[in-house]
């Protein structure tokens, strides 16, 4: 897995900024919404005075906020841990620092390849590449390649599948 010292390629560092934005939006909105909701509940009803335990509910936004702050420190390392490698037989995708995952997709197994780009991703020139195999699942979703690199990779993936099969047929 990580001990192999394989020459993994890294994704664009712009992904760090993008992930920070996702983080801020993904946690910020729920934190603000729940805080406002609870404060309004506190001001308009006597729910909290009759059930003092209910003050524990404020742990929800606080917990979310702490998670968000933790993620601020994790994200750069997470992005650095993302890597991909075009092996002879398969594409290796690697992710995660604490929870490590590595997927090996044989080239001949690729059903189709999607390159996706949302508005934020477009602003940062980053794409998400989704490789679909008959095995289903999202095991091979990979974010962070610039558009040209993603297209190169896609062409490479589909081409290699053919070449490898031709090699096998010849042997």
């Amino acid at each position: 897995m990580y001990h192999e010292q394989l020459p993994y390629r890294r994704v664009s560092p712009k992904l760090i900024v993008l992930r920070h934005i996702y983080n801020a939006l993904g946690f910020g909105i729920p934190v603000i919404a729940t805080t406002i909701g609870l404060l309004m509940l506190h001001a308009s009803t006597d729910f909290f005075t009759s059930f003092p335990v209910a003050y524990l509910l404020f742990a929800v936004p606080v917990g979310l906020l702490i998670t968000a702050i933790v993620f601020v420190f994790i994200i750069p390392r997470q992005v650095k841990a993302l890597g991909y490698l075009e092996n002879r037989d398969d594409l290796l995708l690697r992710r995660g620092i604490l929870f490590r995952r590595q997927v090996a997709v044989p080239y001949g197994r690729i059903q189709y390849v999607d390159i996706r780009q949302g508005p934020l991703q477009r602003a940062y020139g980053i794409t998400q590449i989704v490789i679909t195999t008959a095995g289903g699942g999202t095991a091979s979703t990979f974010e962070g390649l610039p558009l040209e690199e993603a297209e190169r990779l896609r062409d490479e993936l589909t081409q290699r599948g053919y070449e490898r099969l031709a090699e096998l047929a010849a042997s």
Binding site: M1, H3, E4, F51, V53, D89, D90, L98, F99, R100, R101, Q102, V103, A104, V105, P106, G108, R109, T133, A134, G135, G136, G137, A139, S140, R164, L165, L168
Partner: protein, 165 residues
């Protein structure tokens, strides 16, 4: 399954898997039992006395018994768990009480996934998940180096025997 051929040699998974699993079991037992107990105590403090005071402890007791059962079975499970590389397929054995054998043809493999949590890393264990177009099969607790070797082996054999889809 007595009818199963006895001459098949299964490659055992790492014996450290037992330690790792027992540790996870203990952590989950402590967390859930305390959690459920605290919840029951808070619940009882809030409501009037009655027979439901006793009932509120059911989740905690159930989790305790269940986890203890799992802890008894775990060593057997790990001893049984293993894989055998045959000429055309990978055979996986699991289950202490309810035995299970899975055969995954190399030529059917869609992708291989290795995964490792922080605690698993301390014990140098990895999970190897093989996905086919129909389902998946997982070998738990393979030493990391062996797991990567198995992955390379599987994809290579997969190519040699590549079948449609």
């Amino acid at each position: 399954m007595k009818a199963f051929p006895a001459d098949l040699e299964f490659h055992p998974v790492s014996p450290k898997l037992t330690t790792y699993r027992q540790l996870v079991n203990v952590i989950s037992l402590v967390c859930f039992v305390t959690g459920f107990t605290v919840a029951a105590v808070i619940f009882n403090a809030q409501v009037d006395p009655g027979f439901w005071h006793g009932l509120s402890y059911i989740p905690a007791v159930w989790t305790l018994l269940y986890d203890l059962g799992v802890m008894i079975v775990t060593p057997y499970q790990v001893r049984v768990h293993g894989w055998a590389e045959q000429s055309d397929d990978l055979l996986i054995r699991s289950g202490a009480v309810f035995r299970k054998y899975e055969a995954v043809p190399y030529g059917r493999l869609q992708f291989v996934e290795l995964s490792q949590g922080p605690l698993q890393r301390k014990f140098d264990l990895a999970n190897v998940t093989i996905t086919t177009a129909g389902s998946t099969a997982t070998i738990h607790g393979v030493p990391t180096r062996q797991a990567t070797r198995l992955r390379d082996d599987l994809t290579q054999r997969g190519y040699a025997l590549l079948a449609g889809l």
